[in-house]
């Protein structure tokens, strides 16, 4: 396990050192700060709007960072030829990939941690109540989504070039909601072949919108948090896709000539 942690640590340090993370966080801070600074008719306690905007900005910013970071990991190692000394040591390819996965997740966690800090300070400043359980569930589900995106990013970067992988990753993330709604809506209009395709898409493509708990967090005063059973189902659902994408990445990585 030590090599895994070492690789993960190096990915995290590299991510933290790169200016992009801070630029993204700074820009998100500017957007969130801008939202807080606009005077909304002298009314206080208008926290839903702040929560809505802040959570959306945070998840999009983190997702974009994760897509770019995960898609870049393997191609960069190949380009810079830094992969060879690593694999020359007794570091297996599985450990290498696992290390990369953990590293990207740590970076996502680091990003989320900074965002949460900003979010909590903002909520305290606006005098709103913090829905702790909703927020914790939101972060947990987002991290599951980021894990799926990371493994998908690895897979895409092994199949196609870097720019194409990043493009597909970003499009996939941004159109998650459209995909889910579209599949359920179009089903009634589709013919028998179309219905089969939609069923395959429904189970074959991970529905990232299931990991977006932001709406209930925004309207937390009305909605109860998720139960443990639901969280377990969601975790299991995520693990299936993570397993599939990771295994496929491993397969392609093993067959890749170095």
């Amino acid at each position: 396990m030590r090599p895994v942690w070492l690789i993960a640590k190096s990915v995290l340090i590299e991510a933290v050192r790169r200016r992009e993370v801070y630029v993204i966080i700074l820009l998100s801070l500017i957007v969130i700060g801008g939202v807080m600074s606009v005077n909304f008719f002298g009314m206080e306690g208008l926290t839903k709007f702040y929560r809505d905007v802040a959570l959306e900005v945070m998840s999009i910013a983190t997702a974009l960072m994760v897509v770019v970071l995960s898609c870049r990991q393997l191609p960069r190692e190949f380009e810079n030829r830094t992969i060879y000394p690593l694999l020359a040591k007794p570091v297996g390819r599985v450990s290498f990939l696992l290390g990369k996965l953990l590293g990207v997740l740590f970076a996502a966690g680091f990003c989320f941690f900074l965002f949460m800090l900003i979010f909590l300070i903002g909520t305290w400043y606006l005098g709103g109540k913090i829905p702790w359980i909703h927020l914790a569930e939101y972060v947990y589900l987002q991290m599951l989504a980021m894990t799926i995106i990371t493994t998908l990013g690895f897979l895409l970067s092994l199949i196609m070039n870097l720019d194409a992988a990043i493009t597909i990753g970003i499009i996939f993330y941004l159109t998650a909601n459209i995909l889910t709604t579209g599949i359920s809506y179009i089903y009634d209009f589709a013919g028998s072949v179309g219905k089969v395709i939609l069923i395959i898409m429904n189970y074959g493509i991970p529905q990232l919108t299931l990991f977006d708990f932001s709406e209930k967090t925004v309207h937390a005063v009305i909605w109860r948090p998720l139960g443990i059973v639901t969280l377990c189902y969601l975790t299991l659902y995520a693990m299936v896709y993570i397993g599939v994408y990771f295994s496929l990445s491993m397969l392609l990585f093993r067959r890749r000539e170095l």
Binding site: R18, R19, E20, V23, I24, L27, M160, N161, D163, A164, T167, I168, I171, G182, Y185, I186, F189, A190, G194
Partner: protein, 267 residues
Amino acid sequence: MSASFDYMKVGRWRSLFIVGHGVFLEMLRRKDFYVMLILIGLFVMGIFVISVVGIDNAATANLLLNLGMSLAWFLAHILTLLTAARQIPVEMETKTLYPLLARPLAREDYYLGKWMAVTISGCAALYLLLLLGWLPVPRLEFYDNRLFLQIVVLLTVSIAMLTALALLLSLIIPRSINVVFISLLLVFGGSLMGFFQEQTRRTFVTQMLKWFTAYIPDFSRLNLITRYTDGIGPLSGMEFFALICYGVLFIVIALFLGGYLFRRRSL
């Protein structure tokens, strides 16, 4: 004397062509067309979904037209930005710049060649995506074709302006910050500056600030897609010409500044 002057002119165009050719070859090598194929696939999927679901009324058709054209605008600009932002920094990192400049290739020609090539490829992407966003949607209401032609011209100027700005900033700031900054300027710049300019009171300081914000390029001025889908008429000749001059002025300034910085840069 004049023969050597003519030779220099021909030589200059040849240099620009060589640099531009290099950019296209690089794009082919990197398989940048994969990204275009993915984006085209996205549009095709959208068209397919619409054909299944159907278009209820003219208002829905209008929504789709606006979305399709706006998406084409956004994607073409982002692709151009990503291409422009990496040109010089990557060549400097991989040190492929030096053999080029060791030849009798002036730095200004190199810089101008890069701008031309990226602008042309950006425009090609724009036209293709715009066609995909515009053609399949049924025209159930009146849309002015003259305004559409004006849109095509102004968006071409917009792509050229974006390229010039991205190339200039690539000499000053890191690539990722360049991309993020210009993306935000592209999407939010117009609304933010418009909001600021509307809100400023009539004091000397705020009026001066308002004046200076006009030096920040506003891409939304060259984007008339919503005006087109709103069924508003074309711009008057004067206004159209003024907008073209607006874009050209920014392009020229950015190219001058960029050429100057690149010339003075120690490589």
